[in-house]
Symmetry: C2
Subunit: 579 residues, 2 copies
């Protein structure tokens, strides 16, 4: 276990370093000479997103556009790793746990597993005010390791927090103040494809396997999972399942709910083995009872996933439409008429303008704007990104049918939009890196998201944007907000709002600004006919708003169900359901 005991000992091959130094790296690429494995945590930023070797630049006129909305910005000073390490207190775990080979109480290891990627997490990582650290981090290598840890948790009365990729944006993995010690269980060592049944198209994985490792290991057999959340580079199968993730191509490949066939959940009451049966009428679905349990019931150790052969063809394209209404109608009609696309994404006019600024040089921006203007698209124009993935004949029919719908609504497509589609596909996992780039300029950015029925989409988007834009009015601060639809269903769609605001005089004041915006954002969702989260989960941050969606009785039955498996409430308390 020495390879994980310390964050500096894991092997990092020269190949992967070489790959990751270029901005054009393909995150899926991996050396064929050894089995692919997860990104070692010491190769990730301790106080930001992603691989230390990857950066994403922001175009100067993109930054200028944001500042034209929110005003001049000033960078806040960040604390150093060494300074924070000094604040890590002595572990409170019992000696029996501390001395285990799979457990580390190293300060840096504990620090690197203390926070996720929510805005408050970033404030903590830059201010140094972490508040609480886990008392230790375990790196189990098997289901029986996890069983042993949960038995010890019961014997010695400590809290357990499961940790996948540490990418939560809702406070899923943050230890809370309390008298009981906290052991974080990091699943990073369980990162291998264990079995592939090609007849049934079921792949069994260690639940700690990260996105690129999942796909690289399947690719060696010609298979694909097809789950691409924005956090894909670091997030894990277990995390996706526990927090009900959705990927960019959910229209084609389904959400994680459609992919997760069964597996092993280690609970304080023992092992819950969810059998992988294609479909069943035998009572409530254990899969669906445990998906979204966010560590409150137990820890997924091995998971069986529905996979499929690599697609014969995969394409991503862009089209522009005259306005939001036209774009929305195209999306709705496409999904409701069963056109076999793998993704549909629609930016509203503000987001379209911002994307064109952020993703281009001034001369490219001018060229695209002029091109679109000549074809009658102006300030109201919206950008639609779509894809196909699969059999060529099916793709061809899908594109033919979709192009017909696009044309009916006055779309503009051409060589330039095709290039934009490829550029989007190539850079799609690098957007999270932009947050750090903007942070360095004093531009604070965060997102929130929901889903609602088509009937409510416009009203809901309006409510969300207005709520956020006005959230700092009492301080005279402007907030810039824009929205896209990223996942579509016959019944409705998801809405994903991005917002920018200025850092305040210090980290604490900046956090207070965020809290105001976050509250306004959550209320705009909770007061609508919408979910508090379509793809980010509940965590700590959304728990206060969950009852608006589930009702008090829904909360009660969920709580009783989880308590059945964790009667002493030692599994990730405070997450999902408020105490």
């Amino acid at each position: 276990m020495s390879k994980t005991k310390s964050p500096t000992t894991k092997d990092t091959s020269p190949e992967s370093e070489t790959i990751s130094t270029t901005d054009d790296m393909d995150l899926i690429a991996t050396s064929k000479s050894q089995p692919p494995s997860n990104t070692p945590i010491e190769q990730t930023r301790w106080n930001g997103w992603g691989n230390v070797n990857i950066n994403k630049k922001v175009s100067p006129h993109g930054a200028k556009l944001i500042k034209s909305h929110i005003g001049k910005t000033k960078k806040l000073k960040s604390v150093s790793l060494q300074q924070v390490l000094k604040t890590v207190p002595k572990s409170r775990l019992p000696v029996a746990v501390i001395e285990m080979a799979i457990v580390s109480t190293d300060s840096e290891v504990r620090l690197r597993h203390a926070r996720g990627q929510s805005f408050p997490d970033w404030i903590a990582m830059h201010s140094g005010d972490f508040e609480v650290f886990p008392d230790g981090v375990a790196f189990p290598e098997s289901t029986s390791d996890v069983e042993q840890l949960l038995t010890l948790a019961q014997e010695h009365d400590f809290i357990v927090i499961p940790f996948g990729g540490g990418t939560s944006v809702a406070g899923h993995i943050n230890p809370q103040q309390g008298t009981r010690p906290v052991l974080t269980i990091a699943m990073s060592q369980m990162d291998q494809l264990l079995d592939l049944d090609t007849d049934s198209q079921i792949a069994t994985f260690g639940a700690g396997t990260q996105g690129p490792t999942v796909e690289a290991q399947l690719d060696e057999h010609g298979y694909r999972l097809g789950h691409y959340p924005q956090s894909w580079e670091l997030s894990t199968l277990g995390g996706w399942i526990a927090a009900r993730s959705s990927g960019q191509q959910s229209l084609g490949y389904g959400r994680i709910e459609q992919m997760f066939a069964g597996g092993t959940l280690v609970t304080p009451q023992g092992i819950l083995n969810i059998v992988d049966i294609p479909a069943s009428s035998a009572g409530p679905d254990l899969r669906e009872m445990m998906m979204g349990s966010e560590g409150r019931a137990g820890i997924f150790t091995e998971v069986k996933m529905r996979v499929q052969p690599q697609p014969e063809q995969e394409l991503f394209k862009v089209a522009f439409l005259p306005n939001w209404e036209a774009g929305k109608e195209v999306l709705r009609q496409a999904v409701q008429s069963n056109i076999k696309l793998s993704m549909l994404r629609l930016s509203n006019a503000i987001e379209t303008d911002a994307h064109l600024h952020l993703g281009t040089s001034p001369s490219q921006f001018l060229a695209i704007s002029t091109y679109l203007k000549a074809r009658g698209l102006d300030a109201d124009k919206v950008m639609l990104t779509y894809g196909v993935s699969g059999d060529k004949a099916q793709n061809k029919l899908a594109l033919t049918q979709f192009n017909k719908q696009l044309k009916q609504y006055g779309s503009v497509t051409g060589k330039i939009t095709d290039i934009m589609g490829s550029v989007w596909a190539h850079g799609r996992f690098k957007f999270p890196y932009l947050r750090g780039t903007l942070w360095e300029r004093g531009i604070m950015v965060d997102t929130f998201e929901t889903a609602t029925n088509w009937r409510n989409i416009d009203e809901q988007m309006q409510q969300m944007q207005t709520a956020v834009q006005n959230a700092l009015a009492d301080e005279g601060e402007a907030v810039m907000a824009f929205t896209h639809i990223s996942h579509v269903y016959k019944q409705g769609a998801s809405l994903y709002t991005t917002y920018f605001f200025r850092a305040a005089k210090d980290h604490a004041a900046t956090l207070r600004r965020w809290q105001k915006i976050k509250r306004a954002a959550c209320l705009s969702v909770a007061n609508g006919k919408a979910t508090i989260s379509h793809q980010h989960g509940v965590g700590h941050d959304h728990a206060p708003y969950l009852a608006a969606e589930k009702g008090q009785l829904g909360i009660q039955v969920t709580r009783d169900m989880l308590k059945s498996l964790d009667p002493e409430q030692r599994m990730n308390p405070g997450v999902l359901l408020e105490e």
Copy 2:
């Protein structure tokens, strides 16, 4: 409420009577002059399946084939309705309930809500040995009626059984012996389309709406649900949801799980309102926690269903393949390559032969056999039924791609098989009527079903057939069994086994024969990697085998979840989970 208080007062229009007297009636057809509604229960057989005006003949050489397997048969004597009515005891319900306008304690009403359609139910209905009758039947007209009934149940400590179409084949709605009175709540009066949101394609229905009423009411607006279980003529939305039903075209339209968007569940703890959101990452899915609850948590009163426009085109076809292996490979490859069919069904060789006998005259049988033999298909041949439903261009591509696969595996298709496809589609809801026809000849028939991964399909089918065929070996009795795949998934498929055996010297001895076969059948499933039921639910009959699938911990968490909503265990006790 007079229209339901007595079973004889409900209006029956001359139109519907005329329609139902012909054997060729289209069950979907309905008068346009008044809103379509459910089949009144007094128009159904009190001791068998379906509408009293519909019969299905068995071909003499079909019956001969069955007898060539199981031997000569003798009809058992059946009890009359009048004889059974004399055995209905006095109601034990409190006066406060008996006097309610929506409650009937009429003996025939109670008798008609005492049993479903399982084999033991048929024995009860023909022997007269009902054992237990509900103490009364309520016919609520609203959610608040149901709330009131559950409040009274708590005040007066009686048991509640929800009743949809009374079509359970697993003992879901049978009252059990006990000291507490039993009120059956029949949902037949809540049978109307209440709202249709065409933007979001969501239809809100009373949960007691039967299949033909659902489709007729949607059809008036050009919409369709597309859920066609074998019991469709009488079964209801609430029943489908509560027992996780699957319809014949699940490949195209999805299972009930994909259709049910949300709704109102009245529980002893109050109303659980499940909001209709297209998708959510906000914790465990309440929909999936309550689907399959089989009345143990509460009663669905209003349900929101995902619907779609009527398909532009719908076709059903038949193909023959040389053997099971070829047929199975065609199915697996079609579903795994995303060919957009709406159904795929494959009869094994024994079932193919039996279907050809049962569905034809001797001269038709000879013509088909000769035709197939001339094309190289003989005793091992298997019949594959498939369909498309939707957009013409998508259907065309699907059929082109599927035909290519069929040909690769040596299929035979032609005008004659196309006719067989149409005949199947036309008569598909009449198969359940055959049971009564065979019963009259002393031929006992029942079915059971499961689902498993493709890897296990052959082994599982073998186990199931062998178990059933040998179940009466100790009596020297032969059992005829055959199997088809009726629902396919990328991961696996369902297996549906039909078996025939001889009535014994009396009803009690016949029931003992069935019990032996049922136990062997259930063990063959429970000992495999398969579900105890893919589409019939658990009820009383499968409850003893549920732990094999869910594990003891899975049973515990399900029990605790349901108890949260029904702490006094008055909702349909004994169903789903053994006491």
